[in-house]
Symmetry: C3
Subunit: 337 residues, 3 copies
């Protein structure tokens, strides 16, 4: 295991991640990817520890990935099912978290439809001196750090499979296309990609990418903000974003919301912003496509593209997701001691 120093107890946001931390995540995930290539894909790292998944917003895919990561570290897992929960009985979210703390939870993985819930729980855990680490598995439209870290790992291993390094991202052009406004995936990726020196180009219809987006996004950052604002370019057309791009990252459309309020039709969206072979012809020759899933085939991306292993990194993202989450749970667990 990579034994770089790691002092981050909770993983809530990538806004203040350091380059050393990104590097450590890459190295540790590389080690776990090696574990996953063995026949017995388990290590005893978290034996006897309890990882509790509090998924107030249901998500089978992400929960399965976290759960498998925890099990492969030999942790016991608990799942909080919102449908049958005490919440409907009038308990507050913090009280639910404190109940699982009292039962003996060591690490909490939290998803909530409202931004800020994982942070609030992390602060409460610290206030109580609990030692519990909190992992944001997606909060509202705020952040989804593990998705951005697995995207980073996937991009870096695509550039250099054996020894992924963040320095390889320097100067690479990465297009992020789609529903930027509502995407916690985009927000987390903006922190990591710009921190690592990539040139990020956003492309979306104006309803999904307000003019002031990148400025408002950069605001909370201290010295980095100026650097970031120069690195993020926004476009209301897809062509300038994907022109000479090294990587194209599409975002998921929430179909119901989109068609009702913000888009004329899914078909028109695909015509203007869908990723197709024609559009990839504008990119660098060895361009790769990413999507956080689940995919609406023929909307965000054409169906044949998605299935082309020479172009699509989507299955790699899912596979790397388990290794990256193992790495992060491991690092959080280590920092507790």
């Amino acid at each position: 295991m990579a034994e770089a120093t790691w002092n981050r107890h909770h993983i809530i946001s990538l806004a203040d991640f350091t380059l050393a931390e990104y590097e450590t995540v890459l190295q540790t995930a590389t080690s776990f990817l090696e574990v996953l290539s063995r026949r017995t894909k388990k290590v005893p790292t978290l034996q006897g520890q309890v990882v509790t998944h509090l998924f107030f917003e249901p998500s089978t895919r992400t929960r399965s990935s976290f759960e498998l990561a925890a099990k492969r570290l030999s942790a016991d897992t608990l799942n909080f099912a919102p449908g049958t929960s005490s919440l409907t009985k009038g308990e507050t979210i913090l009280d639910t978290a404190k109940t699982y703390l009292a039962m003996g939870t060591d690490l909490m993985v939290i998803r909530h439809q409202q931004a800020g819930v994982p942070l609030a729980i992390a602060q409460e855990m610290d206030r109580l001196g609990s030692g519990v680490g909190v992992f944001n598995a997606g909060d509202g439209q705020h952040e989804h750090p593990s998705q951005a870290l697995l995207d980073l790992f996937t991009i870096c291993t695509s550039l250099s499979p054996d020894y992924p390094q963040i320095s390889a991202l320097k100067g690479k052009k990465i297009a992020i296309v789609g529903d930027i406004l509502h995407s916690r995936v985009a927000r987390s990726n903006l922190w990591s990609l710009t921190a690592c020196g990539a040139d990020v180009h956003l492309a979306a219809p104006p309803t999904l990418l307000p003019k002031q987006f990148s400025a408002s996004f950069a605001a909370p950052l201290a010295e980095q903000s100026k650097a970031i604002s120069t690195q993020i370019k926004t476009h209301w057309k897809i062509e300038p974003a994907v022109q000479d791009a090294d990587f194209v990252m599409t975002l998921r459309l929430q179909k119901e919301r989109m068609t009702r309020y913000l888009l004329p039709s899914l078909r028109e969206y695909h015509q203007q912003f869908g990723i197709t072979r024609d559009r990839l012809a504008l990119c660098k020759p060895d361009v790769k496509v990413l999507h956080p899933g689940p995919v609406n085939r023929g909307v965000e991306i054409s169906s044949d593209l998605m299935d082309d292993p020479a172009l699509s990194l989507i299955p790699k993202q899912v596979a790397n997701g388990v290794a990256v989450r193992m790495a992060l749970l491991y690092l959080m667990g280590t920092s507790r001691n």
Copy 2:
């Protein structure tokens, strides 16, 4: 492990628990609490055994506690989910239980909205000579033995952390406040607390505490009934109940039911029966408050009180719940051999 003799195969009701049994539970739970303080909080006691949770009435909190107890004893667990069950397909409850018996269940943990279901299943398991132990995790308004036993353990460890003994309860005044009428928690606690020699005072509005309650409650008991009826006092006001109390146990209000039929309003309930600092001033100086959870803050108990570690035993109850359930599963498992 405490190796006192233990012959109880099922845990359905505390009505006939002996003092020796209460003592054994306290000692065994103390041992498991020590296990839970280690870094690896697991013992191989139930390795290869199957604990099946049949929760006909959904409850994330209690199920998680039982599930964690089973996992920390290294058992495999199965969960029966009522929403997607064979019950909707016309199968009887006993047939569902027998199906899980046939699959190889060793211990069954059962919650049902109807009183008597765990007993009926236990009798069927015995009739079949199955050797399966049945654990009542709450049946209707009847009993919730593990809650009362964790309350007992929490009270006794509060009085004497290192060596909890039921003799410490002798003569202590314990107030139980709230929806006595509908509470299986109150019923189980009445058996254990009176058996251990505590003076129990019940306080509730008349709609939630009928005049004949304690008499009807004591009726089924043989020689103990007279002793019990002299130990339980009922009040329609909170003050005489909490006056000089050593422990105050509040019960959960089912808000929907309450406001519709039995209470003028939640606010009025809180004014008359809510636990507040002012009311605790009437108690013994070192009084402690218990609540089975989940809590409606500002209804059964004021919010600041609940968060005061000097007064509230609520997080301890949850933590002890895992140790007590480990102890009970262990003792049931032992008695099977």
Copy 3:
């Protein structure tokens, strides 16, 4: 463990199962039944492997049996819950399967309300060169191979407990009674029972057993088809079917569907096709009754019969189900190497 050669990577249908394969399943399941009689009912066979249950059609009973089989082989298990799934988010079934493949699934157990889904997923897994084995846990009205194999194992162990052999089935008369038309259980059993040389008699009302049923059923088979068509007799009355039968297999009625469209009433169905002691008097003296469960007592079978261990093999079917599923997962896992 039985170490016969086994080359079947997926278990989708019994249509092309060979006698050698049936024999291997019986032998391997016998070994696992022995494991299940030990105190520690676990073997490390699938340690570090991941078995994913994709149950698009919910089923607690079958899922529990598969899950327990996987856990007793020491596999880690993932469950896909349709209610909270990405499917509602527009993802295709194949993409869901590919997501779980990418996460690191080794074996997939799939149930779907539509015939053909497990096959389609198995073909996609092969096309991708994934090495993942796919297990059909019931697809529409097509097949339910593990149910038929546990029925076969139960019948053969009933005939010869210590050394079950398919040759014992030769010439035995087996009546299958009930909703033949909609039953995937009946379809899978027809393949296995006829292949092993049993005489199969079907009995149902005309609405549930069309005249051309056995002919259309036998059609896909090559050289076996003539043999099969002579082995399957269909009846619209129960008496000729159960006359001198060695085994009577009843099928589950989906009550809602039945009463609405296809049957005059459940009571009338029971009068005409219900299994009762009177009707069993027509059978061989040592006749046994099977039912795949869950049972509608007093509809498919009289309640007292179901509980008579001298006549009912129903609990044995459930118990054998775990051993047979362990055997099949083990054999599939072995064939992957």
